[in-house]
């Protein structure tokens, strides 16, 4: 069975704790994660998959695997892409119930954001909302 959301968050915190207070190392790590995330083909980067409300463009394509969800994503900004990569690491192959528990606070805990601001610049809140919207049982 796949690790639970909280287990994954814990693992991520440990991963980032290695860098201590060194933000340069942290960002290099994120940039690295961004680079490693397989890019989408240009054909896939449809308007329809754009997440609204980010300064950089983020495409997010949902998929299912039985009860679990599987997202693919890309961005034209590498740091955003790294953050997207982390979100996918945390949420892919989880059930809707688990995904809906995700609050993004982990990004504060690993020291990447001071607070999840509603600013449209970093589209984190938009990304999370878009994902939740996909997995939310439709009434």
């Amino acid at each position: 069975m796949a690790a639970s959301l909280s287990e994954r968050e814990k693992a991520l915190e440990e991963e980032f704790s290695l860098f201590g207070d060194d933000w340069e190392l942290k960002y290099e790590h994120i940039i690295d994660k961004g680079k490693k995330l397989p890019p989408m083909s240009e054909a896939e980067k449809k308007e329809h998959w754009l997440v609204k409300g980010c300064q950089s463009r983020v495409w997010l394509i949902p998929g299912r695997n039985g009860n679990c969800f599987n997202f693919r994503a890309d961005s034209d900004a590498i740091i955003t892409k790294g953050i997207v990569a982390i979100i996918l690491e945390l949420l892919n192959n989880l059930t809707a119930d688990e995904i809906l528990k995700f609050d993004g606070k982990i990004f504060e805990r690993i020291g990447l954001m001071q607070h999840l601001s509603p600013t449209r610049a970093n589209g984190l809140v938009s990304m999370i909302n878009t994902i939740k919207n996909y997995v939310q049982p439709k009434s």
């Binding site: 300064q55 001071q114 509603p118 610049a121």
Partner: protein, 412 residues
């Protein structure tokens, strides 16, 4: 008996006077007795300090910035929206920041589409800011403006609503608390009644004078639009709120537009934001939002119900005392008055009374109070208005009554 009662309640607020630095100013060698609160209130130290804090710690343009100052300023700005939602018992995506009541009303007037034959109804008590925008709409679009007249007690004749409202009535607008007379209109009941007569009517409630004095529960009152200014509610100048009920937002096509309101702009076409941002073009009054949040917190800490009790007792006490003077004609009478009291000294111009009172350090407002149609109804050029805030006291009213008597002697 009654008096002790008043004293008791008012006394509890006396320590709060220390929160308002301006009150320690002298006016022509007298302590300032500021009874012009319906025009604008003074600001507690926490609000003044908040402005200083804003510019020394947080100042930055909101929304699209990626840098820390900007991200923080954005959080603070949106926190303020949430504070308003909490204060008014509603949702933050219904809170539009404006530069004041007048701006909010104009925004609604201009953002609704009008067609010839539409009707707008307002009462004979309205402030010019809730008359002129509709006059302009009338003149430009051939809309009918209908007036709900006042009865002999100077209250709107609500019982005429069934006659006056038709299927063409698009908007009904009325003042929550009259700035001249101080009477509180029963907004919730009126709005229910209006909707029972025509469910499609949009209702705008002018809360400029109600917000400072009592708890506003928009979830309960259910207007489509609610407007007020923070400068009249212990907050900074240049800042106000327009509440638009979620389901009425789609009726509006924002009249003003510009930076910050869009998703995407091309020469051909612009895709606008949804929600409050759509109505807030340009860099907002960020200091105003921040300081207003502090003003709301200040009021919440005291408790709006206690403020209401205080202001009401002060008002009732003033009415009681004025009624004892037979040289005075009182226009504000009744159980529903809170915050403002209008009167005239018989045979004297309000201006004269105001000028003389000022020499005793007493600031009242004289004139038509931007309600000329009401003055016309009363057949007078204006009134003297004493209006109260949480920092006013029973002994200030006693002083005022005493000096009013002196003024009358001087004028006769």
């Amino acid at each position: 008996m009654l008096k002790t009662d008043y004293m008791h309640s008012a006394d509890l607020f006396i320590p709060l006077r220390a929160d308002f630095p301006i009150l320690s100013n002298k006016i022509i060698h007298h302590d300032l007795v500021y009874f012009d609160n319906a025009a604008t209130t003074h600001k507690p130290k926490c609000v003044i300090d908040a402005i200083q804090e804003y510019y020394t710690k947080h100042n930055s343009n909101v929304h699209r910035g990626v840098h820390t100052l900007s991200a923080n300023a954005t959080v603070l700005h949106e926190n303020s929206r949430q504070a308003f939602a909490r204060f008014l018992n509603t949702h933050s995506d219904e809170i539009i920041f404006t530069s004041g009541t007048t701006h909010g009303i104009n925004l609604v007037a201009r953002s609704l589409g009008w067609k010839k034959g539409d009707e707008i109804i307002l009462t004979e008590q309205e402030h010019h800011s809730n008359i002129l925008p509709w006059q302009k709409i009338r003149d430009e679009f051939g809309v009918n403006l209908k007036i709900l007249p006042l009865n002999e007690n100077l209250r709107p004749q609500w019982e005429l609503l069934p006659e006056i409202i038709t299927e063409n009535t698009r908007l009904f607008t009325f003042v929550h608390t009259s700035n001249t007379l101080g009477n509180i209109n029963p907004a919730k009941e009126i709005i229910r009644k209006v909707r029972s007569l025509n469910p499609h009517i949009l209702v705008l409630l002018d809360g400029a004078q109600s917000v400072p004095h009592f708890k506003i529960d928009l979830n309960d009152i259910e207007p489509d639009f609610f407007v007020f200014s923070m400068h009249k509610a212990y907050g900074p100048t240049g800042f106000g709120v327009l509440y638009i009920q979620k389901k009425s937002q789609s009726e509006l096509n924002a009249v003003f537009t510009g930076g910050g309101t869009i998703k995407e702009v091309t020469w051909e076409k612009t895709e606008y934001e949804n929600g409050p941002l759509y109505f807030e073009p340009g860099t907002p009054h960020m200091e105003g939002a921040f300081a207003s949040m502090k003003a709301l917190e200040y009021l919440e800490n005291i408790g709006m119900n206690r403020i209401f009790e205080h202001d009401k007792r002060l008002t009732s006490y003033a009415i009681e005392k004025i009624k004892e003077m037979e040289e005075v004609e009182l226009y504000s009478e009744g159980e529903d008055i809170c915050g403002a009291v209008s009167f005239n000294v018989k045979g004297q111009h309000p201006y004269d009374v105001g000028v003389l009172l000022n020499n005793y350090g007493i600031a009242v407002r004289t004139g038509h109070h931007c309600t000329q149609p009401l003055m016309k109804k009363l057949g007078i050029p204006g009134t003297v208005r004493a209006s109260f805030a949480l920092y006013n006291t029973i002994s200030e009213i006693d002083y005022f009554i005493d000096k009013l008597k002196k003024c009358i002697r001087m004028l006769n």
